[in-house]
Amino acid sequence: MSAYAIDSDRIGEEALESPSAARSAGGPASKRVYVGYGFWIFILSDMVMFSAFFAAYAVLAEARAGGPGGRQLFDLTNVAWETGCLLVSSFACGMASLAAASRNALWFQVAMAVTFVLGAAFLGLELSEFAGLTAQGDGPQRSAFLSAFFTLVGCHGLHITAGLLWLLTMMAQVVAKGFRADILRRILCFTLFWHALDIIWVAIFTVVYLMEKTP
């Protein structure tokens, strides 16, 4: 077996096969492996983009222009609910990927529906928070701190919105086309995307919300 015979595996899945059976010596990786890898690279570059927003937020967190800070503005109960929704949604997404792996269309649709409902609940909570802040005059134009806050958290919310649309697309495609190889690859990419958004939310609730409330 050549040195590179066992060098790649798809991200987002457990290596259920034995390494010796996994890669034929010298053969190219399967399309599923390199599609998953390519999407993993996209996710990492997305995280690099988020890191720029995090840096901007950290730099501008004290630039309040005489306006209110996070301590007065943020409601941690709301944040706890958002966090719970997104975490359980991520778990349900994992269940959907297992259902897809065992070609169980019913459980796939159920798990994806749960993922969608929880993701939509997260988005609703976030939008109501944004609407409340804007209504009381603490919108993005109030201070550099709030501009950075809305940019960072809003960008994550936009990703969630896009993810929800993608989720519905995958549900429809499984109905229309079944668990074809290309559909399964798209499901793989979607689960990677959804889990990655939860990872970014961990950073957001820690850096943006909890740090502002520390004694």
Binding site: D9, E13, P19, Y37, F91, R180, I199, T214
Partner: protein, 133 residues
């Protein structure tokens, strides 16, 4: 690569032993991994929210504790949800992640360092206003 050959390759590479017989044991093993991840992540989240208020931790150390908990939770997500391992079948994925972490660290750390240095060397706003008078 054509769809047919991809499916063939998929049957050979991706539907190897454990994957093929996923109807019984495989699913149970998969679900167990996600449940462990969910429990660990929920526990770490709860700990973050708790330590933020409880006063259990020496107050100046709370931010460091929160960051440690967040990094731990990200690790839990990577291992139990994204199934990232350090095994030989995951080298490419782990190396890509390591590169991503390097860039993220440089961007955030570098920005904070430079901007802190810049604001340290700036005139206080009161002096600027005085000079404009």
């Amino acid at each position: 690569m054509s769809e047919a050959s991809d499916r063939l390759a998929g049957a050979e590479l991706n539907l190897a032993p454990g994957d093929e017989q996923l109807d019984g044991n495989g699913v149970a093993v998969g679900v167990r991994g996600y449940v462990i991840g969910l429990v660990l992540a929920a526990g770490l989240t709860a700990a973050s929210f708790y330590f933020c208020f409880s006063g259990l931790i020496y107050a100046p150390a709370v931010p460091a504790a929160l960051i440690a908990l967040a990094v731990a939770q990200m690790g839990v997500h990577l291992v139990f949800f994204l199934h990232l391992t350090t095994g030989p079948d995951n080298t490419n994925n782990a190396l890509a992640l390591a590169f991503g972490v390097l860039i993220v660290t440089l961007v955030i750390g570098g920005s904070l360092w430079i901007m802190a240095n810049l604001s340290h060397n700036m005139l206080p706003m009161s002096r600027v206003l005085e000079m404009q008078r």
